[in-house]
């Protein structure tokens, strides 16, 4: 499989789906969660599953595109439609998540219902427009709006709690700020790599398009503006973390976000003047630019997202952590380590001329080290502070009387949504809706 980046994309997608399904199992067993944590845990697991499904479709879309197989009857359009339909559900779940986690941003159930009504309504409009043959009409469906919605909420929550002066609430406020920053990196980390391209007005940033040649100038401007918003939020978090570290109050977020910005600076030297946008799907070529994008943007999609997601679930107590469940949870972490290690080596093998025998040996060493590490770090994760409410005013955590059955209903709805996604994508392919839309000039939007 060496030299074939599709295997990496597939491994990453399967990793996301399997982690999502396994985490859902553990989350459902956890009875100790507060209402907003439980809702967040369910939504986070479903985002893994939906994005994994979308990434599988993305992989085959790229393969058909590269083979030049884009005729009206080509499965290219089935997979392309699946990417979009999955993205709509992914955006919906993340916006719903941002409303309640790490702190609920609405003070009454009525307001939360209105917000969820808006999110579901927006998603319904998107599906309707897609079925009617006009997807990605940014002025109406605001594709990518979740970047702004989630970024604004998590950015605000981060700054509010990172700078909170209340000593009694220090532990809780630090945890809330860290979760908000991690969730922000989870959704927008791949965009942070392009920060230098934006600041120095480089072609690889200014050429970024929403959907390659299928999106018009206005859609592309909207998309770039969302990128700018995320980069600015990331820069502000970096500055805040440096400032806090100088005050002797450092957190792991400083190291994590610094890696993104340092790689972004190196990326400027690699990508500037390439005449092509730095997009995650432009991987697989033998050029330095393609290799770099594979190691950064694509790596975020395939490897980093599931790692950040599982870290949040484990570290902040969204998992069932009883003695009975610990061995099962450990098993899941081992699976994560094995898949991540093999995917990492697959990635290296795809871009470097390494002998397969060498990578097999190296995989063995990595897995052995990983499992050794897992024993130690799993315990420290389990024993780390999970406090998010201690010392904080009760007004931050309003109690909404959600019956327990609502979470099972949510799971059923999300499963039904996946079936709906597949059905809509299939119908769009069969009716050639996407093909006809793609053939229409889009100069006006």
């Amino acid at each position: 499989m060496a030299g074939d980046p599709s295997s990496l994309r597939l491994i990453g997608a399967i990793l996301l789906i399997s982690i999502g399904a396994m985490c859902l199992f553990f989350v459902k067993k956890n009875d100790k969660l507060e209402w907003n944590e439980r809702l967040a845990a369910h939504l986070l697991c479903w985002t893994f599953i939906i994005k994994g499904l979308g990434n599988i479709a993305g992989n085959y879309t790229i393969q058909y595109y590269e083979a030049g197989n884009q005729g009206p009857e080509s499965p290219f359009w089935l997979f392309f439609a699946t990417i979009l339909t999955c993205d709509y559900a992914w955006e919906m779940a993340l916006m719903a998540l941002a409303c309640v986690y790490p702190v609920p941003i609405f003070r009454s159930l009525k307001n939360l219902k209105i917000a969820y009504g808006f999110i579901v309504g927006l998603t319904a409009v998107r599906y309707l427009m897609m079925i009617l043959g006009s997807p990605l009409h940014t002025l109406v469906d605001l594709f990518g709006f979740y970047y702004l919605f989630c970024g604004l909420i998590w950015g605000t929550v981060y700054f509010k709690f990172r700078y909170m002066d209340d000593f009694r609430a220090k532990e809780s406020s630090t945890n809330i700020a860290n979760v908000a920053a991690l969730l922000f990196i989870f959704i927008g980390g791949h965009i942070l790599f392009n920060w230098a391209g934006f600041i120095f007005r480089s072609d690889y940033f200014l050429y970024i398009e929403m959907m390659s040649n299928l999106s018009g100038p206005r859609a592309d401007y909207w998309w770039q503006a969302l990128n700018v918003f995320l980069i600015t939020t990331g820069l502000c978090i970096l500055v805040a973390e440096i400032q806090q570290a100088l005050r002797g109050n450092s957190s792991p977020i400083l190291y994590i976000i610094s890696v993104y910005f340092v790689l972004g600076l190196i990326g400027y030297a690699v990508l500037d003047g390439s005449g092509a946008p730095a997009l995650w799907w432009r991987t697989g070529g033998s050029s330095l630019e393609a290799t770099w994008i594979t190691l950064t943007n694509s790596m975020h999609f395939t490897m980093i997202r599931p790692i950040i997601g599982v870290y949040i679930l484990l570290r902040y107590g969204l998992f069932e952590t009883s003695e009975e469940m610990k061995p099962k949870a450990k098993r899941m972490v081992i699976i994560l380590i094995v898949i991540t290690s093999s995917a990492l080596l697959e990635l290296l093998q795809a871009i470097l001329p390494i002998n397969e025998m060498f990578t097999a040996v190296f995989l063995g060493i990595l897995v052995a080290l990983g499992i050794g590490w897992e024993e130690k770090s799993f315990e420290s994760l389990m024993n780390a502070s999970k406090q998010m409410r201690k010392g904080l005013d009760a007004r931050w955590f309003p109690e909404f009387p959600f019956p327990k059955s609502i979470y099972a209903q949510l799971d059923r709805m999300m499963a039904a949504l996946i079936l709906f996604i597949l059905l809509v994508s299939f119908l769009i392919w069969q009716t050639e809706t996407m093909y006809d839309w793609a053939a229409t000039p889009k100069d006006w939007w």
Binding site: F106, P217, Q224, A225, C236
Partner: protein, 224 residues
């Protein structure tokens, strides 16, 4: 919630600084996008016109077989190195030639019919321009052609696109032409007189396989 976040009981400067940074950066981007770099970005949306040309390379192989009054089959498979050194396999020319070689006085040319069955190799068998069978009874050559790469004609054309790679990639599929081509040859020999006079018992048939590979090139046309 807004009151809690922006309330006066806690430091508000970091949050306001964050919002101001976002607005400033969005303004900076808008200036760059709509004014400073607008020309560069607009050029991105211009559909470039490319001239697509094909440089052909021919590789010939000759097989000679003696065919008696029955069918013979000769096979051909293109060298794998041609696939790696060229963009694609365009078409296959097959020339069947023979001569009256019996040496019998007054012996006329035999009848030869040939046929390439549409199996074995991966080719554009349904192409209307294919000539897959032919016959001769006057020792003239029989020329056949099999189009291998779908829609390939070898002729230059113009295409509008944003990217040269998008034009050339569809011409790089290596599976077209893989496999074994087979030609079936039937010889019906005729003698000038019945036995006991000397009899013509067959012909020496020569099959020349000419594989035409191509290299595609998309050249940007200068703006008019």
């Amino acid at each position: 919630m807004l009151q809690d976040v922006l309330g006066k009981d806690q430091p508000r400067v970091p949050i306001f600084a964050f919002y101001i940074c976002v607005v400033v950066m969005l303004c900076y981007h808008a200036t760059s996008y709509h004014l400073l770099d607008s020309e560069m970005i607009e050029d991105r949306y211009l559909v470039d016109q490319y001239t697509v040309t094909f440089a052909e390379a021919q590789y010939s192989v000759t097989d000679e077989e003696f065919a008696q009054d029955n069918s013979i089959y000769i096979e051909y498979e293109a060298d794998s190195s041609f696939f790696t050194s060229h963009t694609g396999f365009g078409y296959l020319l097959v020339t069947v030639s023979y001569d009256e070689t019996s040496g019998i006085p007054l012996d006329q040319c035999d009848s030869v019919s040939v046929n390439i069955p549409p199996t074995g190799a991966n080719a554009d068998w349904q192409n209307e321009k294919n000539t897959l069978s032919g016959a001769s009874d006057d020792c003239s050559n029989i020329d056949l052609i099999v189009y291998v790469y779908p829609e390939y004609t070898g002729e230059e054309y113009t295409e509008g696109n944003f990217d040269a790679e998008e034009i050339t990639v569809p011409w790089t599929e290596k599976s077209h032409g893989e496999g074994t081509f087979t030609i079936e040859i039937d010889v019906s020999s005729s003698s000038p007189a019945p036995p006991p006079s000397p009899q013509d018992n067959g012909e020496e048939v020569t099959v020349t396989w000419t594989a035409v590979f191509f290299d595609v090139d998309a050249t940007l046309q200068p703006l008019g």
